[in-house]
Symmetry: C2
């Protein structure tokens, strides 16, 4: 029986510092829960000078990640530098050195996960990635273990805090997209370069990971349909509200003969639990065929919430090491990630739509628009048209019944070519949520 578990950390940034703090603050508590001490043995970072407000043992710092990986006292390697390289190289090197790995690196898993999975199988090693989705929310464990008896029907996630903060500020404070983003940056919620968050790509990384666990075959970022918040107009948030909806950047995953995996701004009913998730909070709604609707809620980012997830993974692996077992739970929930599951092409997706047309203020426009929609079999549920002119044009807002994406796109390209249309039509998708929760 091992008398301790040695931890090596690569990446002493915000989350890394949180992990160091947590291991130190809860040394006693963790020992009571795990049975032996978790001991931080070695830390690598390119910057060893920056003050981080935590004490580490003298001699434990290094600029060389390989010193961490190959240190004989290191039983588990934590990768917290993010990005593809050199993170991937370090993870593969650690696995091949016979050491289990914990990471928060969603980009790597969603883009190069196939290679990581191959090496995991080849080395019969473990990978913890609880921190890669939903920050401190133990959603990976819930999907992989807690809800293991379920076939997943619907997974809806608000899994990017920055974009949710921006949308919340637009709606509640009436800020423009740019104003809200600037505010998020000023408050430290958004990176100097917020592109990954705002474009929806960060949420898509996470959606790919959730879908892989749900359906048992590897999904990469390239299979996720993504639209971001760029160009989001306050007017659409207001019209949505008038119609009883809120706009959220939602990751939608749906089971079926062909699965759907998409991330885009989405109208959801104001009384759905997800609609009430504001600011930087994350929430994942999961509907399983046995459990019904469930929701998991918490802080999706930040030093200590994310560190909470990293340390949970360390404990999970420590418990396996202490019992001398490996891969007790398959990293992505299935023993074999080769299930025959296809992604439904976006053109085939059927959903409800919100459309805002920029119409010339002339008679007959509404009839032309609705005529083209009708020709494609798209039926209109409700219309808002108000007298208010904007430089000779009026906004016409329509909610449709269920329609096929391809038909909607064809109809809109025809409509946008009409002489009476003064600008590109805004198209948003609507999700009514399944059973309310």
């Amino acid at each position: 029986m091992r008398s301790r578990i040695g931890i090596g950390l690569i990446g002493f940034g915000t989350i890394g510092t949180g992990v160091v703090k947590l291991l130190s603050q809860h040394q006693g508590l963790l020992r009571e829960r795990v049975g032996v001490p978790l001991e931080l043995v070695k830390i690598a970072d390119i910057d060893l000078e920056r003050p981080r407000g935590v004490k580490v043992k003298p001699g434990s710092l290094t600029r060389e990640a390989t010193e961490v990986i190959h240190h004989p006292g290191v039983d588990v390697v934590i990768e917290l530098i993010g990005g593809i390289e050199p993170a991937k190289g370090f993870i593969l090197e650690a696995l091949r050195a016979g050491k289990p790995v914990v990471t928060a690196n969603k980009a790597l898993l969603a883009q190069e996960g196939r290679e990581i999975l191959d090496v995991l199988r080849e080395t019969n090693q473990e990978l913890g990635f609880e921190a890669s989705v939903g920050g401190g929310i133990p959603i990976v464990k819930a999907m992989r273990e807690g809800l293991v008896a379920n076939s997943y029907k619907y997974i809806y996630g608000i899994i990017n805090g920055t974009s949710n903060y921006v949308l919340t500020m637009m709606e509640t404070e009436g800020l423009s997209f740019q104003e809200a983003l600037t505010d998020a940056q000023a408050k430290g919620y958004a990176e100097a370069d917020p592109a990954l968050d705002i474009s929806g790509v960060d949420a898509a990384h996470k959606a790919a990971i959730l879908a892989t666990m749900a359906f048992g075959r590897y999904f990469s970022l390239s299979e996720v349909y993504v639209e971001g918040l760029e160009g989001m107009d306050l007017r659409d948030i207001r019209y949505a509200k008038e119609l009883g909806y809120r706009v959220k950047l939602l990751a939608l995953i749906k089971g079926g003969p062909q699965v759907e995996i998409r991330v885009h701004p989405t109208l959801i009913p104001s009384d759905h639990s997800l609609a009430k998730v504001d600011g930087v909070f994350n929430a994942i709604y999961i509907e399983g065929d046995a459990v019904g609707p469930t929701m998991f809620y918490g802080q999706g980012a930040g030093e200590m919430p994310t560190a909470s997830a990293v340390v949970a993974d360390i404990v999970d692996i420590a418990r396996d090491l202490l019992k001398g077992v490996r891969r007790r739970v398959p990293p992505f929930s299935y023993e074999n990630l080769e299930r025959d599951v296809q992604v439904k092409p976006m053109d085939e997706v059927v959903t409800r739509y919100y459309m805002r047309f920029t119409a010339q203020d002339r008679p007959g426009v509404l009839s032309k628009i609705s005529g083209i929609l009708a020709k494609r079999g798209i039926s209109i549920e409700s219309v808002i048209q108000k007298g208010r002119r904007e430089r000779g044009t009026v906004p016409v807002v329509m909610m449709t019944h269920e329609a096929k994406e391809r038909d909607v796109r064809l109809a809109l390209s025809e409509i946008d070519n009409l002489e009476v249309i003064g600008g590109k039509t805004v198209l948003l998708r609507v999700e009514d949520g399944r059973r309310r929760c």
Copy 2:
């Protein structure tokens, strides 16, 4: 390596039937996730005649629980008969026969858990009890593993669906307590004898289990302060609403040098996430020192949600059996359940209060009441007094600042003896929630 995991079921009632259904429906899916088939070998129930709408293998039914326990093909024993005896005897017999056990039996764990724990340790066996709290919500796993890096500060649970349904119907439909309860019974949400639910004892059982996992020493039902919904008056729900609160039967668990474990009707702010949990849904809000506020939401009862939790436990144990390990995770989160943790006596609890006095409609009453409160150091935050007479008395509603329970009780017993008071004062506690989530 085992080629299958054999399951024995004691109790073929609602949940037991759900487990049988789930194991059959998801035979293939579970095999893909676990690696080997989960095979239902033997089922015991006193009633073998009742049609249950599921097919079982011929010869697998018996009236004798011991046949299940000692069947050589049974690797895991599921106890779903509930209550203290004979459930306890069966569980102890299974453990002593070297078989891990899965149960949904909160009453047993909260009342006789000490003995079960002793036998678990003595036999070095496992016990799964995910289904005992929050139905299908994987809250036991979350507390024991997903949030293992946290010291628990606050746990607030809406963990009895029947009482939450009753309160929801009172508030939204304006029903009296008795009308709402009759409705719950008609809809099948409440038992013919709803005493355990309405009295708060069912929630207290669950609170004792959550506190045991949170703080690392066994807490029994007798250490939980309990008040139920009996006599809940619609007027108080309405006044609470006017003050910006909703009334929920809340389980409150607070960390500290002395911990608090109590269940009672509680005013919580209307904009707190817990306040929006309606009907038969359950939710558990957990604030950990690292993760911050989190919330877990879902159906707290019912055939399939509860079966989802039972089968998750079966899978957890199956994975241990397949790897040949035992007690990889301590059943109640700590290796040793002997931590020195005291429960704060209810008299010492400090909280805010809602009081409704039944005052004679005479001058000077308010000054008498507030004088007695002031003498005990209880300061008033707000008062609602309206002209409306009820048989010569008027309701006077007060919200206090934080005060000590003992002082409040002493003050109320003095006030209730005043000649100008026409009935027993209604006392409810207020919880502002910690950080909103």
